[in-house]
Amino acid sequence: MQIFPKTLNILPLALAFVTFVAGGAVTGIVWFYFSPKNFQVGYAPEQPVAYSHRLHAGQLGMDCRYCHANVESSAEAMVPPTQTCMGCHTLVKAQSPRLQVVRDSWASGEPIEWVRVHKLPDHAYFNHAAHLNAGVGCASCHGRIDQMEVVAISQPLGMGWCLDCHRNPGPHLRPRDQITNMAWEQTASEEAVQALAANVHPPENCSGCHR
């Protein structure tokens, strides 16, 4: 006897459609959306102090190392102590209400609770000193900090992204004196670039970054 309506005969077509089209779509979405590029980039938490890199690093043109002093000698790029802020702000904007938190910290000795922005997975041992001394500029990973009112992540910071540079460092290297130059552009010739990369041997094996 006839059990099913005629319309059910389109089932095979429907199934094919679902498997190929919908399946493909899902894969694509997952592939894109669940990637660091999507997860990381653009994360810009609000900070306890409305510190503007655009003002300090950009307009005032302060060098990164004025505050992140030990970045060339340490794995950590050290957030400056309140001390450093007070170095200027005892004279400049000494009464500004926006700096109240800083003054309180200085008075009480309690640290300012900055919110961490750039964070690699804990098992990835990134070393600022190593990269800076190899000629990787701040901007390469942190983007145009000097144009950020609030610091945001500008690069995926995923393993794939790291490897892109580790496999072909040349284009990302710059002269040592340009490390903190945010506006620096790669103008050197291909030969020059490769020459620069010649004595840089970024690891691609596990223990290079994971210990």
Partner: protein, 193 residues
């Protein structure tokens, strides 16, 4: 199964068109003879419905060989190649690492996976090829309008002649089939939709 020429009665619209003639036989031989007759009479759009594959029926119906083997072969080779390329690219090209001091793109260790991929895709080829060639699933078919047809999956043998067959003529075809002494003969109709 009352009158010899019963047509099914459950009707929504009176618009009915002849869909196919359905002849029922007790034995495979009767069925096969009928098939042979239809073949010799030059019918093309007719079919035999049996509870199990009856041997000689293909010949009786004058069918050509099935191409499914070629589909499987193609799929199998695809699988083998895909497996090889996948491993060679992943371990050998995209991220070569020294594993146990061996070359990253060592071929011998790829053989098992290549083999399994071959089998897997071949199997897909066989099954989905089968569905494709048989145009299954097809849940609705006019032939199901016949109540007696249920025995086609039990112990009886049927011959159906499709109305769309160029040589199909209600009278002539019926005569032809009656000539094969079917246990039962009926006209299956389908609602024009």
């Amino acid at each position: 199964m009352t009158s010899p020429t019963k047509t099914n009665t459950t009707v929504e619209s009176d618009e009915r068109v002849a869909s196919l003639l359905l002849a029922e036989y007790e034995t495979p031989d009767g069925c096969a003879d009928a098939a042979a007759k239809l073949r010799d009479a030059g019918y093309t759009k007719f079919d035999a419905h049996t509870p199990y594959p009856v041997h000689g029926m293909d010949a009786a119906m004058g069918m050509r060989d099935t191409p499914i083997g070629w589909i499987v072969l193609a799929m199998g080779m695809t699988g083998c190649l895909a497996g090889f390329l996948m491993m060679f690219w992943m371990n050998g090209i995209d991220y070569p690492l020294v594993i146990g001091g061996k070359p990253p793109d060592a071929i011998p260790s790829m053989v098992p996976v290549m083999f399994e991929m071959t089998i897997l895709l071949s199997a897909f080829g066989a099954v989905f090829g089968l569905f494709g060639l048989c145009q299954l699933p097809r849940h609705h078919h006019p032939i199901f309008n016949s109540d007696r047809f249920a025995r086609a999956t039990d112990d009886h043998f049927f011959i159906s002649v499709d109305a769309s067959d160029p040589k199909f003529d209600l009278k002539k075809t019926r005569l032809l089939l009656e000539g094969t002494t079917p246990a039962h003969l009926e006209l299956v109709e389908e609602y024009a939709s």
